[in-house]
Every structure is written in C-alpha cells, then in structure tokens.
C-alpha cells in the first residue's frame, strides 16, 4: 500500500473506533452527559483549537465525528494526507474524551493520561528558555527493555521532556528509567490514542503562550511547528493507525523517526534502525541543539534530575 493510502486507512480506522466508543457513551451515559477532561479551560483542546468550539456533552461529542469525516479526503496529495492525520488526532481526542465519560478514572499508575493546564503552565518557562530543549514522544515497543531505556535515559540526560505511549512504558520501567513529571519522563497510556494527551500539550501551548485564537487552525499548526520542539520516535511494527497518527504529528511540524522500514520523507519521516543513533538523528531532524555540554560523570546529570529526591538506600 502506498504511504498516502496507509494514512487514509489509519484515519478511517480511527474514525471507526471513535464512532464505536461514542456509541457506547451514548448508550451508557446518554447524550446529555457531561464531557470534559480534568483541570483544563480548553475543553477538548484539539477540537477547540481547530474549530473554536467547546464540547460539553456527549451529543456534541457525537457531532464532532463530522469534523473527523470532513478531514478525510482520500486524494493523494500532501495537504489531504496531513489533514487525514489531523482527522486521526481529532478521532483520538474523541476516543480519549469518551474514556473519561465512561469512567471517572480511566488512567491509573503508572500512566497519567490527560495532562492538566497547571502542568502545562509550569512547563512554559523552561520551554521558552530552552531549559527543556525538546519534547520527545516515544511510542510503541523497542526490541528490548535495554534499548528502550538507553534512548529514554539519553533524552533525560539532555533535559528533554519525554512522553511514553504503549509497551515502551513497561520497557522503561524494566530498564529502571526513573519517571515522573519532575524527571521529565511521563508515561501517558498504553493505547495509541493516548498520544493525543501530548498533542494537546503542544496545542494548549499555542493557545496559552502563543495567544493564538481558538479556531485558527493554521496558526495553531504554525505555532507548534515554529515553537514547540517536539518529535516522535515510533518503535516496533507500525499499524496503519500509528502511521496516520504520524501524519498528524507531521502536520504539527513534528518529525517522525522510526526503527521500521517505511517510505521515508526527508526531514519529516525517517528510518533509523541503529538505536545508538536514534537520539542524535531525532535532535538533528527537529533542529534541536543542546545548550549545555554534557558533563562526563557516571550518573546522568541534567535538569531532569533536579526534582529527584535521593532516597536513603540509593
């Protein structure tokens, strides 16, 4: 299948999944049931940024499926493919919102799920000063815990904020990666759709720090592309759904680096099979320059450890 068709297929799968879970929400909770993510003034941030409309009820959430449908235009042109990626993002947000409808606490340790506004505000200053030089989204599954831990710890040592999605969370735990917001490694969730919680971080950054008016999608995308130094590492076999998520990332200006053989697109979608080079490849692709030179001491030394408490037995 060619790349664009893969993206369209993934987007249609995302739409089907969203339709399914919304139907369940309607059946179990009714159309008038309230829809909201915890601790945010931006409703469903992706949809709010794209349309300027806040979703408050399940009925409105059901209506938002039309946004997804309208973004999937199966014509093999780049803009259509990127829009299809955005459709997947919107569908993912619908799925995730529905999870919060169907359950009061859809996420539990170690996963954090939705990232609240206060946390984003706290990230704002270090992002602007370059103290957080980049945002890595590590998704999928590495061949082993060791390579996963190596990559994540490397980001950590460089002060990069890393969000984890999928099995790589377990691999990070197995690999003794210390996690937590202060340590700049945040596991989001095991489903691919939970990747949307980092997308909304970028999008809320545009609304909060960039002062972009909700509804001005083009400007939101431009802000993310120019100002949010994020990128994606997709490890392990890539489903159509993941590929179409990747198209969404590219639409936001975030390059995708994978260990799989894919149809590469220079600077945007790259294959790097050597795990020792994933970090360097990713930083170059996102044009991230690390300010501080690494200090050759045995323990990873970086801002990510500022919040770490040394426990007695360590």
């Amino acid at each position: 299948m060619n790349l664009f068709q893969t993206i369209f297929t993934g987007s249609k799968q995302a739409l089907a999944a969203a339709e399914g879970i919304v139907k369940k929400a309607v059946e179990e909770k009714g159309r008038d049931h309230k829809v909201a993510f915890p601790d945010t003034a931006y409703s469903l941030p992706v949809i709010y940024a794209a349309t300027g409309k806040k979703i408050t009820t399940v009925a409105e959430l059901e209506g938002a499926l039309d946004i997804v449908r309208s973004l999937i235009v199966e014509e093999e042109m780049l803009d259509k493919a990127l829009n299809s990626g955005l459709a997947t993002a919107v569908a993912a947000e619908i799925v995730e919102a529905a999870k919060y409808v169907l359950s009061d606490a859809p996420y539990s340790e170690p996963c954090v799920g939705f990232v609240s506004d206060p946390i984003i505000r706290s990230l704002g200053v270090p992002l602007v000063t370059g103290d957080i030089p980049g945002v890595a989204v590590v998704l999928g599954e590495c061949p082993d815990a060791e390579s996963a831990a190596k990559v994540i710890k490397d980001y950590q040592s460089k002060g990069i904020m890393t969000f984890l999605v999928g099995k790589v969370i377990d691999q990070a735990i197995e690999g003794n990666v210390k996690m937590g917001l202060d340590l700049r490694v945040v596991p989001l969730g095991y489903d691919v759709t939970s990747v949307i919680h980092v997308v909304t971080v970028a999008i809320r950054a545009a609304l909060i720090f960039g002062g972009v008016k909700p509804g001005n999608l083009a400007e939101v995308l431009q802000y993310c592309s120019d100002r949010v130094p994020a990128f994606v590492n997709a490890f392990g076999p890539l489903s159509e759904l993941v590929v179409s998520c990747g198209a969404g990332a590219i639409a936001l200006g975030f390059p995708v680096i994978t260990d799989q053989t894919v149809t590469e697109v220079p600077t945007l979608l790259l294959t790097q099979k050597d795990y020792d080079k994933v970090v360097k490849t990713s930083l170059e692709a996102r044009k991230i320059k690390i300010k501080v030179t690494e200090i050759p001491i045995p323990v990873a030394f970086a801002a990510a450890f500022e919040g770490e408490r040394i426990r007695k037995n360590d």
């Binding site: 060619n2 093999e76 042109m77 803009d79 697109v265 220079p266 600077t267 790259l270 170059e284």
Partner: protein, 630 residues
C-alpha cells in the same frame, strides 16, 4: 497580420508593434506570407529522395496515389522523412559535442581554454576508463578527449555509455537491436537506410532512427555537457534576469545567440577585461552589457549568470529594440533573416563559425589559435558600433523577471544533501528525490524542453504546461527555450513555489529551491537523463517505471525530434505540442504513439492543448505510480 494573439509575452507584442512601425518583417510575417502549409509535407507524405520524384502520395489510405514511383508507401515515406529529421538533430548535437571534445583535447594550462572542474574531469575520466592516478591534469584531459572522440567514429567494440544508464535499459536496447554504436555511424546509417531502394519497412526505419537518437542523448549531448563542465565549470545555483528588458539604455549591448559555449565563454571573459570596459567608456557608454539568446544564453547563464534576453522567437525582436550593438552567433537556430533585418538597424550581425556562414553577415571566425584575440575583436566591433545607435529608433521594453538558474545534477544533489539527516545519510545521492516521489509528496517529475514555434501562441504552451504540472505536485525541470520562457514568466524564482501544489511547495521549502529548475541548454537534456537514470538506479528500477515525463510544448527543430526520440527510447513518455509530419503514415503513427511502448515502455503523445497535456500527464503519472505500487 491576423488579429490572433501571437504571444503571451508583453515585450514580444510590444516589439512586434514596433517592427510593424519600423516596416521590418519577422518570422510571424513570413509565416503569414507563406499561407497555409502544404498538406503533403505537413503529413510527411512527400518524398524527394531521388530524381524520379518528387513524389507525393495520398495521406488518406485507399484514396488517391498510394505509392511513389519506386513503390514506397506512405508509411515508408513518412518513416524515412522522420528518420532523417532524427539524423539531422543528432548531427547538430553531435557536431556540437565533437567540437567540445576537440576543445578539451586542446586545453592547456596557459591556453585560452583550461580545465576548470578537476573533480568532474576525474569522475568522467574514470567512466571512460582513463587512468587518473598520479597523472598530470592535462594529460588526463587530452586522453579523455581522445577517448570520447573515438565514440563518434568507432568501428569496433561498444561505445562508452554512462553508468547512470540502468542495466535494464541497456538490455532492452540490446534485445531490440538498437544498442547504439558510433555517433557518426548511426547518422550515416539513417541516411543510407532512407536512400531510395533501401529500408522500406516503417518499423525497421523507426528503429534505426531510435538507435541514431541514442547516440545523441547518451553520447553526443552527454559528452558535450560533461566536457563543457570540465572546461568551463559545473553550474551552480545563481541569480539572473530575463526578457528583453535586460537590454541597457546606455551600455554596449551584445547579444550572444547560438549554441556552443566555447564562443560565449570567450566573450564573457573578454568583456570583463579592463581594456574592453575602458574602450566602451571611451565611446560614451557606461559599460558592456552581455545578454544571451537560445542555448548559448543558457550555457552562459548557467555558469556566469549572464542575462537572458529571450528565446527563439524573440531573436529578431532583440534587433528591433534598436539597442543591440552586436548580435553574435555561432551555430544552430539562427534565423538567416537576421542578416536582412539588421540592415534596417545599426546592429552588427556577426557570424563566427565556418559551420554556419550567413550571407549578409559580418564573419569574424573564432580563431582556434587565438580565441581571446577573436573575442576581443568581436567586442571591439560592438563597442565601435555604439556611436551608430540611432536613439530615435530605440525602444527597450521595461519588462524583465528575476530568475534562479544553474541547476546541474551536481547542484541538485548538493541541495538535496541539505535535507539528509547526517546520522542516516547517504550524502550526494538521489535518495531524497526518490523518497519524496515514492512517498507521493511529489507525484512525479517532468522535463519541459524545446523551442518556440509560430504555429503556437509564443510561450503559452511552455507556461501553461509548467504551471499546470507544478500545481499538480509534479516537479519541473527545464532546458532550452522552455527554460527561458519560464524565466521570463517568473517561474524560476523561489517565490513561484506559491503556484505549486502542497507537496511540491513543501519540498521546495525544505530543499530551498524553485519549483522549476533550469538545467541548461538543449544538450544539457543529458543532465535530465543523468538525474532520471541515477534515481532509477537508486530504486533499482528502469527509467520507464518511474513517473517521469518529457514535454516539448512548442518544439520546431530536428534536434527536438531527435531529443524526443531518445527520451522515449530511454523509457520516458513524451508529449509533443506541435503535430510532427507523420500523420500521413498510419503505421508510423501507430508505432510512435502506441506500439513503441511495447518496445521501450514509453511512447509519444501529441497534444497541442497545454491544459489537456497536463491532464494526460497527471493521469499517466498516476498510472505509472500504480504499476510501481507507490
């Protein structure tokens, strides 16, 4: 003149008005005076290959005379005429390539022509099997030239075809029996086979013509380009301006027209000499303003950013401005009408090559022994002519456009390096281009080339086709007079990416290039072959598998016919915007637009409407993508 719009270029229309006022005629007037062209010639069914004729047979099968006196059918006559056009075109390019080889043979460290690009010399020498290690640069250059020259007249063994030619393609040619031998031999072979009483089978005749054309694209033109780069430098991206507005009011305007870079290189160098500039000032001019026309312009602009005065149909109009002191020409595509035209103005029409003497011109031969001396002499003629400029007759159009030129394959690869992740690599490869094509970000690539033809609205075909293609995310490379049309209409600027589709626009932003890349002169179409071949090799496919097309929207010359033939034979579908004189031979038409695809995986499309051309190309590109699974 009829009220039909003749050109989409404003300077052209303004100058045509002035020509009318000045009472001088142009090619458009002569076309009008010739009335409707002869239907037999237009259909290709007129034969003059022996004195039993001329014979003209009916272009409509089953009606009227079906055979010439010797018994040749319409298809035989058409195929022979077609083949002879191919031979004419091949001969023109090849003689051009030959003189470039000879120039390389005569390079010396203290001569007028030196080796400028050693790196390219080494690369080309290696492909010709010339040893380079520990040897003197000029020794290598001379041996390379001598080796290259052998392929013009080789009688034994196979010629040296570049490694960019995919192995699968070579095999196809071998199986088809059209693997090229020596350049001159194939030209002679066409002339022989088309003599009375020889080949009388359209299929066989066309194959002989195809074989001949290959010695042009992959040999004559290829060598001309490579060796020109070695001597004069491999083009790099640079800025220039285009259209008749580049002529200067108070400078000595010299327009270089023709083809071979040897002449233009010398003149460019000589015009920079302080003594020449002083001389210009001494006659009251502010300086010397060199501009180019046709392919000489392309050569000089690719390497020096020399301004582009205009393309083929504008050559007379440059004189009509009244501001050209000298129109300096060498060979090919030079209207003999310029001799008479320049009598009505102060312009000196200077011919320089014994291969193209024109009655009524001033002949100053480019002396092989003292090229610089000849160039100075030519420039001096121009300068001395400045005082004869009749100010009351001068009208320089204001219009000109910015353009970026200089996209040799080397330059393109350098640009592509800019988007290669250094931790992934490789550098200096066509991979980024192949990647974006495979991904579908760019749907395909098109080479838009060729001449102007007064049968078409001047420049309209070029511009409409180019705009239509880039809008559909098909990247366009241009050469020849098409490149100049693009330059004049602002399509060679980076800003032109706004006219491109979303994918191509993105790629142009990432790679920092215009959506239309000027790759040089007509012989530089070999650069396009090199780029396509390199991409095919990278993907491990044949050129006919790639979503790549060629277009000649306003072609006119036999060279264009030869080019189209080698492009198709190389596996690239080719669109012609002017109907070639083959319509009287149903079998020939069937071969060229249908059967040839079974042989070489590509065919000709004839479509005078540029918008339909774009639609057909997009459809065909998608078809090829589908077949390749991308």
């Amino acid at each position: 003149m009829s009220e039909k719009v003749l050109s989409i270029d404003k300077t052209t229309l303004d100058m045509l008005d002035k020509a009318k006022k000045d009472g001088v005629e142009t090619a458009w007037d002569r076309k009008e005076a010739l009335k409707a062209p002869c239907g037999f010639g237009a259909a290709g069914v007129c034969c003059r290959n022996c004195t039993m004729g001329p014979c003209r047979v009916s272009p409509v099968p089953g009606k009227g005379a079906e055979r010439g006196i010797c018994g040749a059918t319409a298809d035989v006559i058409v195929s022979r005429n077609y083949a002879r056009m191919v031979a004419g075109g091949t001969a023109a390019h090849s003689d051009h390539g030959r003189s470039i080889c000879l120039d390389l043979y005569h390079t010396s460290p203290d001569g007028d022509i030196k080796v400028k690009d050693e790196k390219k010399l080494m690369k080309v020498a290696a492909r010709f099997g010339v040893k380079t290690e520990g040897r003197d640069i000029y020794e290598i250059a001379h041996e390379l030239a001598a080796t290259g020259l052998q392929d013009y007249g080789r009688q034994f063994g196979e010629p040296c075809l570049p490694p960019t030619l995919p192995e699968k393609r070579r095999e196809i040619w071998r199986k088809l029996g059209i693997y090229p031998r020596a350049v001159d031999r194939e030209i002679a072979s066409v002339m022989h086979a088309s003599h009375i009483g020889c080949t009388a089978d359209a299929e066989s005749m066309i194959k002989i013509a195809m074989r001949c054309s290959l010695t042009d694209g992959w040999m004559g033109s290829y060598m001309a380009t490579e060796f020109s780069d070695i001597m004069f430098g491999t083009p790099k991206a640079r800025h220039t301006e285009a259209n008749l507005g580049v002529l200067e009011d108070n400078q000595v305007n010299i327009v270089l027209h023709g083809h071979e870079p040897t002449l233009s290189e010398m003149i460019v160098a000589a015009a920079e000499l302080p003594e020449m500039i002083e001389l210009a000032k001494s006659v009251g001019a502010d300086g010397i303003n060199l501009c180019g026309m046709c392919c000489t312009a392309n050569e000089a602009t690719m390497r020096h950013g020399v301004k582009l005065a205009g393309n083929f149909m504008q050559q007379e109009l440059a004189v009509v401005t009244g501001a050209v002191e000298a129109l300096v020409v060498d060979v090919q595509c030079i209207f003999p009408a310029l001799a008479k035209l320049s009598e009505s103005y102060h312009t000196k029409f200077i011919t320089t090559s014994p291969k193209a003497r024109i009655k009524g011109s001033t002949f100053i031969e480019l002396d092989e022994e003292d090229r610089m001396g000849s160039a100075k002499k030519i420039i001096t003629e121009a300068i001395m002519n400045f005082k004869n400029r009749d100010r009351s007759k001068v009208m320089i159009p204001e219009l000109k456009s910015e353009a970026e030129v200089g996209y040799s394959v080397e330059q393109i690869l350098n640009k592509l390096d800019g988007v290669v992740n250094s931790h992934i690599g490789p550098m200096q490869s066509a991979k980024p281009l192949a990647d974006v094509i495979v991904a579908g970000v760019i749907r395909g690539a098109a080479g838009v080339v060729g001449c102007n033809n007064p049968k078409n609205v001047h420049d309209e075909g070029h511009i409409e086709v180019i705009k239509g293609l880039i809008k559909n995310d098909i990247i366009v490379v241009v050469t020849g007079c098409s490149a100049q049309a693009a330059a004049k209409h602002g399509l060679l600027r980076k800003e032109a990416r706004e006219l491109a589709g979303p994918g191509l626009k993105k790629v142009c932003e990432l790679v920092d290039i215009p959506p239309v890349l000027h790759m040089g002169s007509c012989v530089d179409i070999s650069r396009i072959l090199e780029l396509v071949g390199t991409t095919a090799n990278h993907l491990g496919v044949d050129m006919s598998d790639l979503p790549v097309v060629g277009v000649a929207p306003e072609y006119m010359s036999e060279k264009a016919i030869a080019i189209g033939t080698y492009v198709v034979t190389s596996g690239i579908d080719t669109w012609l915007g002017v109907v070639p004189p083959v319509t009287g031979g149903p079998e020939v038409v069937d071969i060229l637009t249908n059967r040839i695809e079974e042989w070489v995986g590509a065919k000709f499309f004839v479509e005078p409407d540029p918008h339909k051309t774009v639609e057909q190309i997009v459809a065909r590109v998608n078809e090829k993508r589908k077949k390749l699974g991308i």
